[in-house]
């Protein structure tokens, strides 16, 4: 009996602890600029989506200081055949970057029921990838494939296993409303950037710096 109540106590403490940590992180994300102080380089993940999203993110990536944002890991879906050559091209044809392919969470025409399991599976697969790489910054611009990666990174941050910042860049295509990915990520991404000024009015805390691509 005593052991049981002891376990209950530990469990309650854990729940309170995690809740407090989540609230603390959310307040920090919502109220501060989420600065990051780093000794040297920033370990960076780019979540590669598909088609236009890939092009946009890679075009933005070229503006970053490649010695500061280093090493760079690109995470892409395993059925994405076009993005790999685009990445190689954008990296000036030098293989100083890392690639990781994860199974796609929902294939075209897959039923919603089975996609629940495949989403869980592809989310679990990203855990060791992110934990081992220990990113400082994650860049993503949708589509939905980047959400599991961001969720895993956020959970690892809650558990003090990782200290990283999530930067979400909304696609230039979104003029009047945020994408579903943007709507979800605005609650826990550290920085949400939009490319049309009027989008600031329909989002929680998006920032606008002009057109990026």
């Amino acid at each position: 009996m005593e052991i049981l109540s002891f376990l209950c106590l530990i469990f309650t403490a854990l729940v309170i602890g995690v809740t407090a940590r989540v609230i603390y992180l959310l307040i920090k994300i919502f109220t501060t600029e989420c600065a990051l102080y780093q000794d040297s380089n920033l370990r960076t993940i780019f979540c590669i989506g598909s088609g236009g999203h890939t092009t946009e993110l890679l075009r933005f990536m070229r503006n970053l200081n490649c010695r500061k944002y280093y090493p760079r890991l690109y995470i892409l879906a395993d059925n994405d055949i076009n993005s790999e050559s685009k990445i190689f091209e954008a990296e000036n044809k030098q293989s100083t970057y890392l690639l990781n392919k994860i199974p796609r969470s929902r294939k075209v025409n897959q039923s919603y029921f089975s996609s629940v399991f495949s989403t869980i599976y592809s989310t679990l697969i990203t855990v060791p990838v992110i934990y081992k790489f220990k990113p400082n910054v994650i860049f993503c611009n949708g589509p939905g494939t980047c959400i599991p990666i961001c969720v895993v990174a956020f959970i690892l941050r809650i558990l003090f296993l990782l200290d990283c910042r999530i930067v979400f860049i909304e696609s230039i295509c979104r003029v009047r409303s945020l994408s579903l990915t943007g709507k979800i990520l605005q609650y826990f991404a550290d920085l949400v950037v939009v490319q049309w000024p009027q989008l600031r009015d329909v989002s929680l805390r998006a920032k606008y710096f002009g057109r990026l691509t």
Binding site: Q38, V175, R211
Partner: protein, 172 residues
């Protein structure tokens, strides 16, 4: 003397746009093209249901091909570009400062790409229409009234990132 658009380039992107390809070869559109001075038409047809090839029709030289690694050369050579509503193609054309007419594919359900074309028309950088209004639009609009598209400016955002993600050791 209105400006003549000698070479016209049409792109449908990575998928297909059967209706536009079909319309571009119809007598009504060819007539409208001749009215604005067209002598040569290059069409990137993607997977659309027409056959690639070269031919002359009503004194206009047609070149149809499916895909190229980069359509930039064709954009650069053209005096006017007619494009599907894909953001990538639209921005690529606008960056080359070419007059642009976007034809919206109404068969596509997911039409958030239309949002961008609409906004760019409001800002005066392009015109957009549907296949049905293509002839009318070609007759009516004046491409010389389009305003050049300002260059993207990622520097502000990059500076902001550099500011919040501080690195102690000087990397440069």
């Amino acid at each position: 003397m209105p400006k003549l658009y000698n070479r016209i380039f049409i792109t449908v992107g990575t998928t297909r746009f059967d209706l536009l390809c079909e319309y571009m070869l119809s007598p009504a559109v060819i007539h409208a093209l001749k009215e604005i001075g067209c002598k040569e038409v290059v069409i990137q047809i993607g997977n659309s249901d027409v056959d690639p090839g070269n031919f002359t029709k009503n004194e206009i030289k047609f070149t149809l091909y499916r895909f190229k690694d980069s359509i930039l050369e064709d954009i650069k050579k053209a005096d006017l570009v007619i494009s599907h509503a894909g953001a990538g193609s639209c921005l690529e054309v606008l960056e080359e400062k070419k007059p642009l007419l976007v034809v919206v594919n109404e068969d596509l359900m997911d039409n958030h790409q239309l949002e961008l074309a609409e906004q760019l028309q409001i800002d005066g950088h392009l015109y957009y229409c549907t296949c049905d209004t293509l002839v009318n639009t070609l007759n009516v609009v004046d491409f010389e009234l389009l305003r050049p598209f300002p260059k993207a400016n990622p520097i502000l955002f990059v500076r902001y990132l550099d500011d919040i993600f501080r690195v102690y050791k000087n990397i440069d």
